[in-house]
Amino acid sequence: MSTDYHKMWAELGLDLKMHDALLNVLGEGYQQTFLTQKNRPEGMQYFDFVMSEVHGLRIKELRDAQAEGRVVVGSFCVFVPEELILAVDGISVGLCTGAEFGFDLAEKYLPRNTCSLIKSAFGFNLSKVCPYMESADMIVGENTCDGKKKSYEEFGKLVKNLYMMDLPQTKSASGKALLKAEYQRFQKALEELSGKKITVENLKKGIEIVNNKRKAIHRLAKLRAADPAPISGLDALLINQIYFYDNPVRFTESVNKTCDELEERISKKEGVFPPDAPRLLVSGCPMAVPNWKLPTIIEQSGAVIVGEESCVGERGTRNETVIEGNSVEELLDNIIERYFQIDCAIFTPNPDRKDHLIEMAEKYKADGVVHYSLQFCQPYDIESHNVEKELEEAEIPVLNLVTDYSAEDMGQLSTRVEAFIERIKE
């Protein structure tokens, strides 16, 4: 970071010592993970810059916007519709949940056997190191898995502005009605918070911005089907992670610019990995910044990741929202239509997910799937059994891994990943 932001962080109430420690670890991790990669697209310089300023310039932008009367809404889940937040001229940001930080503090509130993602949200909050959490005018929690919905009861005691969104658990008519009722309630809450009414006009604008962002991400996803892969899985994951933080219009432009460059690479048959490198999909729990452990191990073992079946990835970005409609309710129905298709493992049953995986494997010419569950994440861990069975029956090899945010199992994970790559090469 070029500017000294300590004053701003102090104003936000961050613990400066802890925060400096976090930034140091992040900076080193980033250097080793991303900047040592060979032959990266030039377009990645923008995303490197965003990451280097993720706690600096971007937070300043949020604060400047707040000074102009705009609201910042933080969330943890892809079911929170960004279209509505943009309609009230608000800013949507993902909150920090990707590192083993402050777990000792988190365990004061949570059982040890809680997944890393939940513990991390508590850890970041209790250590006072997440400027997004401290900046947010509203934090949206959601009833997804049991771990999350029960832990929000505790989390609500730690923050003053937690808004809870209920979510369906089945893809039924009543489930859809629940989602509609919840999105209507969320619409009102946003209108109250911002003092702005949602209209056909501003909602259409919100839909358009998010659709464009998704279109750019879909374009990037398609280009990864090329052999050799024009961009590493790590860099593509990074773009998918930054999706949650950056200004959406600027982000869309930067992704499209990078895609132009990737198209040129593809026409010259240039890639980041040799053409014979095994191609893998990663599927399962979301990977929030800076959770780069598994993708790093996979790509350092010589395979290239060509797609993420994840909330930070294709599950979260699949499908656009239909923009035609003459009333706010019609547009809201379109939004519900789009979000209700998300195949999160909290739904039961959830057959679309394995269909999507088979489709992705074909589309991106993947040789296998690494299924990633966080330890103690029951929805994905339990679902992995059937996903593995159905994929293997479709002759797509699967490696099923359960891990967390700690570095202690890196050796064991490498052994499994290397063996899986050997299996694919046989």
Binding site: E392, G411, R416, E422, R423
Partner: protein
């Protein structure tokens, strides 16, 4: 052509040396904090043409001329298939890991599972328990083999299991029956891994723990299947390394 296979495990390092198709030398040494030095000692005076390494220390040979690296799962798949061509299921219990691997009819690996994060149900667990019971490793397996019944050991955690054993002994439990209980607990752990990959004949048990007669016998009882073991189950990974190098030569 001198081909060396080296399996750098957590507790021991295993070496096999082949001159063309004949094994001319093998060695097993205890590992220490300095596996590089032990490896160098083992290799001293062996003018090899090619070396293939596996095991948790395999990356010592990253970017080394005339060396290749394979995972221990692949090494065991190749090694076992060469000794038992009909093998479809492998159980390997080594110093710190337990692996179950399923093979297809051509000996290619299909599915594998490994123990997570801790030493429960591994060779190291047996070593610590033998020590707690004041047995040597060979006496330990033999005592468990001879015992008529078992004291149930409930703790999977090595540290807690050790205190459980001590408390059983202080209550007057028979030492060999406690030994039997420890062996049963290891087998139940391994059995649950085997269940995950499916128990298809022939089943081959390898790794240092396959020397233990009680584990093999209890495993046969629990699986209700015949379990095969090679003469030297400890060097199968190193043997797999040599086979890998040979298959690469054929390809080139």
């Amino acid at each position: 052509m001198i081909n060396v296979g080296l399996d750098i495990g957590s507790r021991t390092i295993k070496l096999v040396v082949f001159k063309d198709y004949e094994m001319i030398h093998q060695d097993v040494r205890k590992n220490s904090f300095d596996n590089k030095q032990i490896t160098e000692e083992l290799l001293a005076g062996i003018p090899y043409d090619h070396l293939t390494a596996t095991g948790y220390g395999r990356h010592l040979f990253d970017n080394t001329p005339n060396c290749s690296i394979i995972s221990e799962i692949k090494a065991f798949a190749l090694g076992v298939h060469s000794v038992f061509p009909h093998c479809r299921t492998i159980l390997d219990i080594g110093g710190q890991d337990t692996k179950a691997i399923s093979l297809d009819a051509r000996g290619r690996m299909k599915k594998f599972v490994m123990n997570d994060k801790c030493a429960a149900g591994t060779g190291r667990f047996l070593e610590i328990m033998a020590n707690a019971l004041n047995y040597s490793l060979s006496e330990f397996g033999e005592a468990a083999f001879q015992a008529d019944r078992a004291e149930k050991i409930n703790n999977m955690c090595t540290v807690f299991a050790e205190s459980e054993v001590i408390s059983l002994l202080s209550k007057g439990a028979d030492r060999s029956e406690v030994a039997r209980g420890i062996h049963e607990s290891i087998v139940s752990r391994a059995f649950s891994q085997l269940q995950k990959i499916g128990l298809e004949d022939d089943i081959v048990f390898v790794g240092g723990v396959a020397f233990n007669p009680a584990v093999k016998k209890i495993l046969q009882d629990v699986c209700r299947k015949k379990i095969l073991t090679p003469d030297n189950p400890q060097i199968i990974g190193a043997l797999g390394c040599v086979l890998y190098a040979r298959s690469q030569e054929r390809e080139n």
